[in-house]
Every structure is written in C-alpha cells, then in structure tokens.
C-alpha cells in the first residue's frame, strides 16, 4: 500500500473515524502529495484555503523560510503531536516525503459579544464583561494595564479535555508566597474531564466544606484589574466568563465597583448599609423566633399587644412558621432563576402578592413573620457576590434552629461558632477575616468607609499593614 494512503488510514484511526474530521490528499510542490488534516467544526476552511494559496506561491520561489508566517509554522511530524494540534483546532498539512508537517493556526471564532454581566450589575463604570474566550478576556485586561509587569501564565486543566487556562498576577506587587501557593495548587490539580468552574474553585480553595467562599469570582474586567494591582492572583479558564481571585477576605465580597466609581460620601454610606445588612440577613429571623418563644419581655409594651394579636391564632411553633415562609421564599427565588425572564416577573407577583397576602389570611403565618422574612430576603440580596449571598441565606437556618431551642443563648453560641470558623478560615493561606483578625485598626475603618483617592499612593496588598503612612488605597472593588 502506498505510504500516503497508509498514513491517512492511521490518521483516520487515531481520530476514531469522527465525521467532522477531514483528511484529504492534496497535490504539493513538484508532483509530491501531501495530507491535509483538520476538524471541520473548528477550522475556518475559507481562510485555510487562502493561506495555503499563499504558501503554494512561496514554494515556487524556493525561499528558505517559505513556511513561516504569523499563523503557520513547519515542524517535524510525529503522530501524537499531530493529534494534539488538530484537537486544538489547528490545520496540519503533512509532507510525507520530508517527514515534516505544516501547521496552520486558523481557528473558527465561536464567541459571543461582550455584554454586561447581569449577575453583577452596576450603575457606574465599565459595563464590559468577560466572556467564554480567554484571549478576549486577556485583551480586556491588558487594555487596562499597559505594563509588562502584568504576567500571564498558561496551563491546561483536565488530562483528557486539555482545557486552556491562565493565571495572572502583577510582578513586583504580588507576594511570592501567594504565587507559590497558587502554583502549587495548580500543579496538583487532578482532573480528567474539566467542564465546570466549580471543579477549579474546589481544587483551589483552602477548605471546600466551609460555607464561605474563599475565592472571589467576578465577570467584571475592572474588578479583576483592581484586584491584580492589589497583589492578587487571578485564574481564568477558556470555558467560562468567571475569573477567580485570591487571596481575598470576607469583606472583599461586600465591595462593589460602584462604591469606587461613585463619590466618597455616598460610597461610604452604602458600604455601611451593605455591611449592616449582614446582621439582619443572618440574625433577624432567629432573633424574632427567640423573642416570641423565650424573651418577649424585650418587646416594648406598645408593640406587644399588636404582636400578641398577630401570633395568637397561628397553629405552629415559631420555628415551623418561619421555616414555612423561608422555604417558600427560597422556592420563589429558585424558580425565578430557572424560568425565562418574562415568566420570572409572574413568579414575583405570584410569590409576593398571592402567597404573601394569602398565607397570612389563611392563618398559616403571622404578619410579623412576613415582614421579618421579607426584610431578611432583601438584606441578603444586597450582597454583591452571588456566592456569599447564597451562603448567607443558608447559614440563617442553623441560627433559627438554635434560637428556637435555646433563645438568645442559642444565638450567642451560634455567633461564637461562626466567628471561630471565620477566624480560622484562610484564603490561599492568608487570614480570611483580616483586618478584624489579625486586627489592623486603620484597615478596619476602610471596611466601612470608602477612602478618597486624592492622596498619592503606594500600592499595597490586603494582608500587610502598610508601613508607609501614605499608602491609603488598599481597598478596591
């Protein structure tokens, strides 16, 4: 059998006779034949044809570097390498006579437009969002940092899927141990088939079983840049618009670009409001349960009659009453996410008006409980991060149970356990509850206030107290 035909057969076999694989014999220079091989689904065939035409024209002039252009290169043929190239969407032209292959990197661009991420909507500032293509994402970030100190390192995830991924950092700003830690974790990734960013974040987080997210995920390039210049590592993959940022603190999740794009006083006010919402979101239902089942003497006399009237005809214990409403609340949330947006509105009306009003008239829950749960829900949605927002909605359930068992004492015990957990937690080996523990008074103020940008600054990281008095801008979105 002809050598060319044999090679074609073996190529076909290597790709398991996949239908979208094109293997074709073509005429080459001076009567030789060559084998053209590519995945039709990944390659822009028209462009390939154009480039091949250029190469043909060059061949006749016998120039020594006839094969080298921006998108083509000549290398030695080996079957495993050829397979890898084809899988990455490149086109190869195998030259059996010389034992070499010409690779053409012309990838069919399947990408969506840059849109504003609707899970992190902001009022002011950049409305660009990251997309599912890493090269576009890198372009978005490079455009914001015109400096070679921004280092991009690539790696692949998934031994079988070989997905492209990158980690980014600012040389000179990042702490070496942070970078080492991240590199160590990336090295030890053991994933065969990579298809979800959850696989990546699980592998990179310090404690996976903690309810609190230890990596900040965002789709905003400006947020990525703000964190990069603060000395953090950013990990991006080719399959998702989500960028993971670490190491972060608990309070990073409460910051949004809006605070910093807007004005100082307004930004500070909303920062404080948002942080206080943590308390209502986690403790309000528990507090209410504790009051009406243990400590109703704390109610003002004027209010107590009203409250008593409300709860007197409720057949259930306060915990059950709260659970009914909280579960309904979570159901409404879950269903409004899964449904298309037009129907989602209907769910809001059904949930808010119909259930909210009817459930009270039906006597299943009291008016006050509706207020409490509604207030709690609103407070929990204030958190800019989707991850932390879900966490907060979840951790209020243990508090409710504790409150129904032991009243205020139960809540206090719960708070102690929560604080112990938060203080113990680390993000890339950095303290998660910084700057409260370890305590840095100046940084604590900056949690609550958005500091003005007018002072000349020295860039600092989140985790070291600045030696320079002028280093003020350590808080970033």
């Amino acid at each position: 059998m002809d050598r060319v035909e044999y090679m074609m057969k073996s190529l076909q076999k290597a790709f398991y006779h996949s239908s979208d694989l094109t293997v074709r014999q073509v005429d080459w220079h001076e009567g030789n034949t060559a084998i053209l091989c590519f995945y039709a689904s990944l390659v822009d065939a028209k462009e390939v044809q154009k480039v091949l035409d250029t190469i043909y024209a060059r061949l006749d002039t016998a120039k020594p570097f006839w094969s080298e252009t921006l998108i083509t290169t000549l290398e030695k043929f080996s079957l495993p390498q050829a397979i890898e190239r084809v899988c990455q969407g490149e086109t190869i032209v195998i030259l059996p006579d010389t034992g070499k292959m010409l690779t053409l990197t012309i990838v069919n661009e399947v990408r969506r437009n840059l849109e504003e991420p609707n899970n992190e909507s902001i009022l002011r500032g950049s409305h660009e969002g990251l997309i599912e293509r890493v090269d576009t994402n890198l372009a978005l970030i490079r455009r914001r940092v015109n400096n070679p100190a921004l280092v991009v390192k690539s790696f692949t995830i998934g031994r079988q899927t070989k997905t492209k991924a990158y980690y980014l950092y600012m040389e000179g700003v990042i702490k070496p141990e942070t970078l080492q830690e991240m590199e160590k974790r990336i090295e030890t990734l053991h994933i065969d088939y990579f298809y979800s960013t959850g696989q990546l974040s699980d592998a990179l987080e310090d404690s996976v079983l903690s309810p609190f997210p230890q990596l900040l995920s965002t789709e905003h390039p400006d947020r990525v840049v703000a964190n990069l210049v603060e000395g953090k590592v950013v990990v991006m993959t080719d399959i998702s618009p989500t960028a993971f940022i670490g190491p972060v603190t608990f309070f990073s999740f409460y910051q949004t670009p809006d605070d910093y794009n807007g004005r100082v006083v307004v930004g500070s006010f909303y920062k404080i409001v948002r942080l206080l919402s943590f308390i209502t979101a986690v403790f309000l239902p528990a507090f209410y349960i504790a009051i009406i089942s243990f400590h109703f003497e704390v109610l003002p006399l004027e209010l107590s009659n009203q409250v008593k009237n409300d709860i007197n005809d409720i057949p259930y214990r306060p915990l059950i009453e709260a659970l009914i409403l909280e579960i309904i609340m979570e159901l409404i949330r879950e269903s409004s996410i899964r449904l298309p947006q037009s129907v989602g509105q209907t769910i809001g009306i059904v949930g808010g008006l119909v259930i909210g009003d009817a459930i009270v008239s039906a006597g299943l829950v009291s008016n006050l409980m509706v207020i409490v749960v509604a207030l709690t829900a609103i407070s929990s949605y204030v958190v800019p991060s989707v991850e932390l927002n879900s966490t907060i909605r979840m951790i209020r359930f243990p508090f409710m149970v504790l409150a129904s068992l032991f009243g205020f004492l139960g809540i206090v015990v719960g708070v102690v356990i929560l604080l112990i957990h938060l203080i113990n937690l680390t993000s890339l080996k950095q303290p998660y509850f910084s700057p409260i523990i370890p305590f840095q008074p100046k940084a604590v103020i900056k949690i609550f206030l958005r500091w003005p940008f007018f002072k000349p600054t020295v860039q600092v990281t989140s985790f070291q107290s600045p030696k320079d008095e002028q280093a003020k801008n350590e808080d970033t979105p």
Partner: protein, 358 residues
C-alpha cells in the same frame, strides 16, 4: 451507630420547648398589678389585654400571700399570667402601712420579673384604680407608667423604680417616697396628688401635696426637666402672678456634730416663665421679685423639713451623708435621731433668665 446519632438529633429537635421555652401566644401579658389587704388575706388585681376584643381584662383573686394570690389568679385565666412585661404595681395605702417588702419579695425572686418598673400608692382600695384603665388606655400598666413618668419630668415624683425601692427599703439611712394617686371626683381618672412618705419599711400615712413634693425634690437636688413654682407678687395694691422654672440647684450641707445641727445652704437658679407685669429689667422690681420668691421657698423648705422630721421620714438621705462623712454622729436607730436633728435651711434664689421677653 448512625441510628443512635439520628435519634439524638431528632430528640433534640423534637423535644424543643420541653424546658425553658415559654411561647408568647400561651402567655397573658400582665401590665398592671394592684394589691391590697394584709397578711393572710390579700387581694390582687391583674390587668392584661385580651387578644380578641383588644380590651383590658381584669382578674381578681384572693390569697394568704402575694404569691398565692397570683397562683389563684392563674386559675381564672386560660393562658399563663406572665409578669415579665409588668410596668406598674399599685398598692393600697392601708396595705402599705405594713412592711411593704412582703409584697415585693416575689418580684425580686424571679429573674423574669422586671425591676425597672414603677410603683405607686393609691388612696383607699386599689380596685377602682385598676378598673378605670379599662376605658382609658389600651395597656393598663402603660397608663400609670406614662402618668408617673410625666410627673417625674415635672419634678413631682422622684425617679425611682422597683429596684431602687428594694435597695432603699433595706437601707436604714434613707427612706422612700412613692407616688400617691387619688380618684378624680367623677371617679373616671386617677389624679397624681403628691408623695406618700415612708419611714423605714412602712407608710407613715402622711402625703406631701404636689407643691410640697416639688420642694422636697428640690431639697434632694433632683429637679428634672421642669420644676415650676407659681406665686402671687403684690405691688401697689396690684396682684401679679409669677411662675418660675428651676434651672439648677446647688446645695451644701454643713454639719455641726456638737450642736447636732445641719446648715443646709441652697442656691436655686430660676428662669421666669410667667410674669405679665414685666419690667424685670428695673432693678427694684427684679430685686423685689427675687426677694419674694426667696422668702416663699425658704418658708416652704422649712415646712417640708418639719413634716419629714415629724414623720421620721429621711427621704433626703441625710443619714447617708452623716454616716459617710460624720460616722461618730451616726446612731443605729437613725429614724429617731433624724427627728431630733436641727435642720437649718438657707435658700438663695437667683433669677438668671427672664425669658425671651425683655
């Protein structure tokens, strides 16, 4: 193994409420307690709002002790009487003639009872005072609490709560004076009519009038937001009313151990709040008015001190002062000692503001 753990978890969850849980909906929140009678035959009144009709319900019960009264009252209510939101205790004047701590003991023994609540003495039976809240206010205890607090702001009642009463009852060196309520003529309202003086643990039977109460509180240096005194100023056959508000009281007690006298020097700074005659900028008028007020206050101070000494009621806390600074002079039976002291008040009134009108 898992079954055992599951059992424990379920037991913990399902047994909730078996120990110290007390559900709000199973409790009747009592806001006003009235008590009368004597040891062996007490009668108590408990006012709580009914949930259905939004009205005040009053439960009456008898018993040999305050605690038994409460237990008996519980027999007449479908829910548990809960006193954790209590705001006022009313005691009949007859009952207060006996040592009053007998009534209060149960409030100090239970941690759920609030002790930052008000206490008052009523003229005659407590029942009409409790009953009248039915028509007046949605919360019975709140009515008396607001009543007492507003009178405190006008310096008619001292600012004391149950906790202070409790500690002062066991203090030999200071006595309590509790708000005293009378019924209005149409029997539909309560009227704050001064302070009931106590000597040691018992009520003396003497009530200071509101004006005297104010003087007593000035003597105690406890003027509150407003302390108004009104007098008639006579000049050239014309009569002009004048009202002054006390801004500040400075007092200095000088004790002479040998003569057993106390010189009580008071400087009272006042603001004129009503004086239709005006012309206070004229020196003669100003001096005359100031002089007149000074004399009146001096007389009233002497009057009040005399009453206090006659009743052996040391509400000013002179005993505390003596015990602290002149321990040699202090005697074990302070009440008898107090009555025999010579108290010499000396008042100086200064008009420091004449109001916005000049």
């Amino acid at each position: 193994m898992y079954r055992k753990e599951l059992m424990i978890v379920m037991a913990v969850l399902l047994l909730a409420g078996c120990w110290d849980e007390r559900l709000y909906k199973n409790s009747s929140v009592v806001t006003l307690v009235g008590i009368e009678g004597y040891v062996g035959a007490y009668r108590g009144y408990y006012a709580y709002p009914t949930t259905a009709a939004q009205e005040t319900e009053i439960i009456e019960a008898e018993g040999i002790s305050p605690r038994e009264v409460r237990t008996k009252a519980n027999l007449k209510v479908e829910q548990t009487l809960d006193l954790s939101e209590l705001s006022t205790i009313l005691v009949s004047d007859q009952t207060a003639r006996e040592p009053i701590y007998d009534l209060l003991d149960i409030y100090f023994r239970n941690p759920q009872n609030p002790i930052s609540i008000k206490m008052a003495i009523t003229e005659g039976d407590v029942k009409p005072f409790v009953d009248l809240t039915k028509n007046i206010a949605s919360s019975a205890g709140g009515y008396y609490q607001r009543f007492i607090e507003s009178s405190e702001d006008n310096t008619y009642f001292p600012k004391i709560d149950l906790q202070a009463v409790g500690s002062m009852l066991f203090d030999q060196t200071i006595d309590i004076a509790l708000p005293y309520f009378q019924l209005s003529e149409d029997k539909k309202h309560a009227v704050a009519s001064g302070l009931a003086l106590f000597s040691g643990p018992t009520y003396t039977g003497t009530v200071l009038s509101p004006a005297q109460s104010l003087m007593m509180l000035l003597l105690m240096n406890q003027n509150s937001k407003a302390a108004r005194m009104s007098y008639l100023w006579k000049n050239d056959g014309k009569v002009n009313p004048i009202t002054v508000d006390v801004l500040k009281v400075k007092r200095k007690w000088t004790v002479n151990e040998e003569l057993r006298t106390i010189d009580m020097a008071y400087t009272i700074e006042v603001e004129v709040e009503e004086f239709a005659n005006d012309h206070l900028y004229k020196k003669e008028i100003f001096q005359d008015v100031q002089q007149m007020i000074e004399e009146k206050v001096q007389a009233e101070f002497e009057d009040v001190l005399r009453i206090l000494q006659n009743q052996k009621s040391d509400t000013l806390g002179i005993g505390r002062h003596i015990r602290a600074y002149h321990p040699k002079m202090f005697k074990g039976d302070w009440h008898a000692e107090f009555a025999s002291l010579l108290l010499k008040p000396k008042v100086q009134v200064k008009i420091i503001r004449t109001g916005v009108l000049r």
